[in-house]
Amino acid sequence: MSDKKNENHEDPIGRNEARRDFLKQSSLIAALTVVPGTLVKAAGNGMDEKIAEYFEKVPLSIEVNGTTHKLTIEPRATLLDLLREQLALTGTKKGCDHGQCGACTVHVNGRRVLSCLSLAVMQDGKKITTIEGLATGDKLHPMQEAFIKHDGFQCGYCTPGQIMSGIACIKEGHANSDDEIREYMSGNICRCGAYPNIVKAVADVKKGGHTL
């Protein structure tokens, strides 16, 4: 799905640089995989927040759209927040943030999941594909082309999730009829009501027999 070569990629904003250095130097590194509750409490009690922040974070290695990222992250961060806030991949949308709308759908190890209900720390060593990982250079993915051709959106907010779901729907073998597409796309809500055209787009890609 991506022709980008696998490379070690630093956090694009660069703000994890100092934290990583600190972690490397710290003789307490062994303690970091299990952060003592007392330290979490200390942070809440207003101790030096910067220090507490270091201890609350855990290391994470994750491949996103073919690029490996080595980061540190708070256990409470969701995969959605990691993608949007730390990796600046804002194509994946935060809709309801409670697993009810599908706007945050991404692929983890090739299967569609909801990134808003996935803890980032639990994705260690996994391969993530987001909407940004679909196109090859300037050439759009067949599902992206189909959404444009069939006018499968109006405001566009749900579209990245719809497209990620549409691709998975076909790969899973769940796009054999309009009814089946509707059932297996039901986890992606579109408040503009572009459903008929979304079904057409998915059915068209399925008919085209593309390698997805």
């Binding site: 299990v34 979490v40 409470r76 409670h98 999941v113 909801l114 996935s118 803890l119 639990m122 986890g187």
Partner: protein
């Protein structure tokens, strides 16, 4: 969400030891319910123990029974060939629940352990005896459209939201759990409990007991099965009422029947009286209606959910008709 400690374990033994060591810790697998509850502040564990790498994902024959590992994904179980061919009711129920994204994350054990979606349980500003024992039940005289018509108490009328569990209770499954004292088996119908005076307890697990799998006995319910789920939209919504039906037919005669309902009680609701009544009867709409009425005599509604008193028996009849191919 309040931050928490995070550890990973790779064995049942380590999972059990870790949770016993730390009173405010919780296991996490798919996380589809737990992460949501943590975002809402309904549960606030100080430590999460990630069990997704514990080897409990297998689906296999164990003697005459089917063993499904507690960490098997809902989507994998629904698509499994053994399940589809020999336990089609389970596959139908699983596919009617949630969305494919959620089924790709959610595990069998997690599906059983999910909490009610009662809005009073979910809103920490509201009274709820399940979330905060002694605070009262907001639903009894409140907005109770989704709530129980069977087995409720004056402390709680929440319903268990699972579809999978409705099929498992109908198929006489057994839950296999491991705690510090070793392995224990719980008949599925005894796993979830009624609210009584202790609605904070959803099930009969003891602290430190981990679900390792479920066992489903061999059965003759391959052909005449149906899972009818009635909800506010055609897909991706919790049940108002659901009915699982599995019949063993000899011509037009019902030799054996299994019936259970979802969306009507604090646990998946097995309809044993109707099952007994249907045995050796000739399948017909009037027989189905009599069976449904037998079950409804113990039903009670609370205002907004009065419609379930009509919807439930109609759903039972409709599901039976579909199962025998007369719909």
């Amino acid at each position: 969400m309040i931050n928490f400690d995070y550890i990973k374990v790779t064995s049942v033994d380590a999972a059990v030891k870790a949770i016993i060591k730390d009173n405010k810790s919780q296991w996490i697998a798919g996380g589809t319910n737990l992460v949501d509850l943590m975002k809402k502040g309904v549960v606030e564990p100080e430590k999460l123990i990630d069990i997704t790498n514990v080897p409990l994902k297998d689906i296999r024959k164990q003697g005459t029974q089917l063993h499904i590992g507690a960490l098997a994904l809902n989507s994998d179980v629904a698509e499994n060939e053994l399940v589809r061919n020999e336990y089609p009711l389970l596959s139908l129920a699983l596919k009617s629940g949630a969305s494919q994204q959620i089924r790709n994350m959610a595990t069998v054990g997690g599906n059983m352990m999910q909490r009610t979606r009662c809005p009073y349980f979910y809103n920490i500003d509201m009274p709820c005896n399940k979330r905060s024992p002694g605070s009262g039940c907001g639903a009894l005289k409140g907005f109770n459209r989704m709530h129980a018509i069977f087995g409720g108490s004056d402390k709680c009328i929440a319903v268990h939201p699972s579809d999978m569990c409705v099929a498992l209770v109908a198929l006489d499954a057994t839950v296999v759990v491991t705690g510090s004292k070793g392995e224990r088996r719980i008949p599925f119908n005894n796993f979830h409990r009624l609210p009584g005076d202790n609605p904070q307890k959803d099930n009969t697990l003891e602290r430190g007991e981990l679900i390792t799998g479920v066992l489903i006995p061999e059965n003759s319910f391959k052909q005449y099965v149906h899972y009818l789920k009635l909800r506010d939209r055609t897909s991706y919504a919790f049940a108002l009422v659901s009915v699982a039906v599995a019949l063993n037919m000899d011509g037009n005669t019902i030799r054996d029947a299994r019936l259970a309902m979802g969306g009507v009680a604090h646990k998946p609701w097995r309809l044993t009286e109707a099952e007994k009544f249907l045995r050796n009867k000739t399948a017909s709409e009037s027989v189905f209606k009599q069976a449904a009425q037998l079950e409804m005599k113990n039903a009670r509604a609370y205002g907004h959910n009065n419609f379930k008193l009509k919807l439930a028996p109609n759903a039972i009849v409709d599901a039976l008709k579909t199962a025998v191919g007369k719909n």
